[in-house]
Subunit: 161 residues, 3 copies
């Protein structure tokens, strides 16, 4: 297998993928969300404690685009959904060769949550651990593992991070 | 009209403009603020709800450098001004061709507010929607629209975002 | 002395140094912390008020790698240490020629603190004022001054920022 060349241009493309993903979520264009992933994929939200203990439990788990679409559909129809939006602040991405043809990317995030009445709080912090591939002429997530710092995020989680 | 070429170098220059702007505000060098704009310009703070409903109301509105300067002057002389500073965290900027010779730029922000006694809170989140032009040998904002996520920012807003 | 050439590649390398530093702290790989500095170095945390008044008092002060190592050792053995982790969000770095062979770098930060029970708060905001040099084949901090916006951070400070 060819070794991946980590150029400044590749780092920029990866960071633009991450910025576009955050922009789609924060701008409530949720229908775009599945299009950031490959058809077969892994999307998982897990706390750092559970990741460390290798507990399989995640707060959210999807392994293909249809599951991602279903997630958005059920989110929209949930009665309990008190309207709110997110705002992501991302750090710079540490890009390395994933070793299997993918790009490995590691990125800090801080997400604020804004309730409908304007109240804003620090909702979740953590890091993205991504595996990214070139497909359909662009970069897509083959894997996106959201590792949350806090263990108490789950009860509040509706919109994907 | 020439098509704008979005190179990595241009993206870097745009992001350095945004970082310098945030640095000037956060460092209380408010007198520099107008110098980031073209002589005729648009600076507006508006909530995303009002932007969506196309309501003209903004929390702050200036359309030339003199208005920006006046804003700083009146801010300094306001009796009600309880001393505080900001700290910006910016995401990476999505740069596109503005189509009219300008560069269109879209950037997430999270701003913390630090009161004089040290108390720190999450003051405002949202995104910058900018139109940037090359003028006087550097990049300047021809338009800077600050779209706040929250609708309840106005009562507290003194320093520009 | 040669003038330093501030290229996009250098800016990228500097920002990757800062991102790696934040990643090591946030991932609790504290033993790596001293390795980001030159043998003789300056690491200082100081509030912006004290910096302005040129007061020598800092919240933390180390001037060589051994002091940095000691700091980590004492942190680990402190009885009073209620477990918590940090999460950094960094802005883009303004890179200039330090004038003495070093690279001067100025970067906004927002740090969230996550307690063991999951509670998350906005712990510290401010900026890094760095002097960076090429040594041992990589970039290292010769000086890292953490200027905190708030004056009330000290009582809570255990883990380096």
């Amino acid at each position: 297998m060819e070794t991946l060349s980590i150029t400044p241009e590749l780092t920029l493309r990866v960071e633009m993928l991450l910025a576009s993903y955050a922009d789609a979520i924060d701008d409530e264009r949720y229908d775009e969300w599945p299009s950031f992933f490959t058809e077969k994929c892994l999307y998982k939200i897990i706390s750092r404690d559970n990741q460390r203990r290798k507990l399989p439990m995640g707060l959210m788990y999807c392994d293909n685009r249809n599951m991602l679409r279903d997630r958005i559909t059920s989110m929209r129809s949930a009665n309990v959904f008190e309207p709110h939006t997110y705002r992501h602040a991302l750090g710079r991405t540490l890009v390395t060769d994933g070793g299997d043809g993918s790009i490995a990317a590691r990125t800090n995030y801080i997400v604020a949550r804004i309730m409908h009445d304007g109240q804003t709080d620090l909702f979740s912090t953590g890091r993205y651990e991504d595996r990214i591939v070139e497909a359909e002429g662009k970069l897509l997530f083959r894997e996106r593992v959201v590792v949350t710092d806090s263990t108490s995020t789950d009860a509040l989680l509706v919109v994907p991070l």
